[in-house]
Symmetry: C2
Subunit: 229 residues, 2 copies
């Protein structure tokens, strides 16, 4: 598989699909992985069709498909968008496939949906990201982003994102590179909120914004920060 | 002292000053308290002058001053805007002065400022609000609001707030009444984020937004939620 800028481990769910299309439409080379390469290919065929319908075939950087290990070893930024209950096992399964210089991007949030409400289930490490950081080799820089973005909006590629995303990570260089990458997506502004200690708050904000959605009968609530240049 | 809709315990700091003026300009009867009535009066004279310069004397609902106990017992919504290190002692000092039917509004955040960064110092109860809830009599409904609003913006009454404020509380009726009150301030939208369990995230958001301010050399960063009606 040719090298890509972004690879999604098991990226066939709503968050992975939406992010893959948004980045592909921004001209970024993206791979979507799955445990079965055929399953990834079926998703990617669909996503390329949706994206091409939006901008025309000629303007699209086509998304490629692959088995997860190949996607991880072939990508500069490896993004995890699986439901949180599978996050730790997924990281364990692919942690040795990262190539030197690649950056891990955690998009997962430990949410629990129940009787009309949603809560963050805080792992003993203090946040979902801290738990995953403990599993990933120290040599792989760990960042977090996109946690508060609604999949509904990400997948609706005809509409602008028109919001901010909160980016954190203890490795400054990796974080800056990720922020540069995010700036390529129109109307999605990355905001640096510090190191991994910010993860607990960002994950809590995901629960808050889903709660706001439910109260307001929306699926599109998302954060913007006013008052900065 | 005549009854007021809002009373600020030791409200002579930036957050209290800003909120007092914003509500007074919205036609709400506000009292600002201090341990010394004369100190409250000096602040209130200044605030009324600033507010009158904004809208003209005739259109202003003048703010009144009082000693803290009188302000607490005479107000429908009692708001706490002191620095967090004084919050617990302040609540202890005035908790028996609440009249029946009044509502406590926690505006404090347990922040710690240090070498170029700001952190939330999470009390053992899980959040600043939970700690204060444990001190206040159960009979007084406990709500939280305004925690993420920058004092710099609140005090700059010539500029619209143009942002949202996250409101929480376990007593639905008290929370709804508080939200109705907040809706009187132009371009400040209250968003219901659930019960007191939301306090930890909201307090964390205050640290995030201050961190964003520092990185972006602003004093005006504040949250808006896009994508809701």
């Amino acid at each position: 598989m040719a090298e890509t800028e972004i690879g999604f481990i098991s990226g066939t769910g709503p968050q992975g699909r939406g992010l893959a299309m948004r980045f592909a439409l921004a001209g970024v080379r993206v791979a979507v992985g799955s445990r079965q390469a055929e399953r990834a290919q079926a998703t990617v065929d669909e996503l390329n069709g949706l994206a091409a319908a939006q901008v025309g075939q000629g303007n699209l950087q086509p998304i490629v498909a692959g088995e997860n290990h190949a996607v991880v070893s072939g990508s500069r930024f490896v993004m995890l968008t699986v439901p949180f209950e599978h996050a730790a096992d997924t990281v364990r399964g692919y942690k040795d496939s990262f190539r030197e210089g690649s950056v891990f991007v955690d998009v997962t949030v430990p949410l629990q949906f129940g009787k009309g409400d949603v809560q963050v289930v805080v792992p003993s490490q203090g946040s979902g990201s801290r738990q995953l950081r403990g599993i990933l080799p120290e040599s792989v820089p760990f960042t977090g982003a996109f946690k508060t973005l609604p999949a509904h909006v990400l997948e609706d590629i005809a509409s602008p994102m028109d919001c901010d995303t909160f980016v954190f990570g203890d490795n400054r260089e990796a974080k800056q590179q990720l922020m540069e990458l995010i700036r390529r997506v129109p109307s999605l502004r990355p905001l640096d909120v510090g190191g991994i200690s910010a993860a607990a708050t960002v994950e809590g904000m995901t629960a808050l914004v889903i709660r706001i959605n439910r109260k307001q009968k929306s699926q599109a609530a998302r954060f913007r920060v006013a008052g900065i240049p």
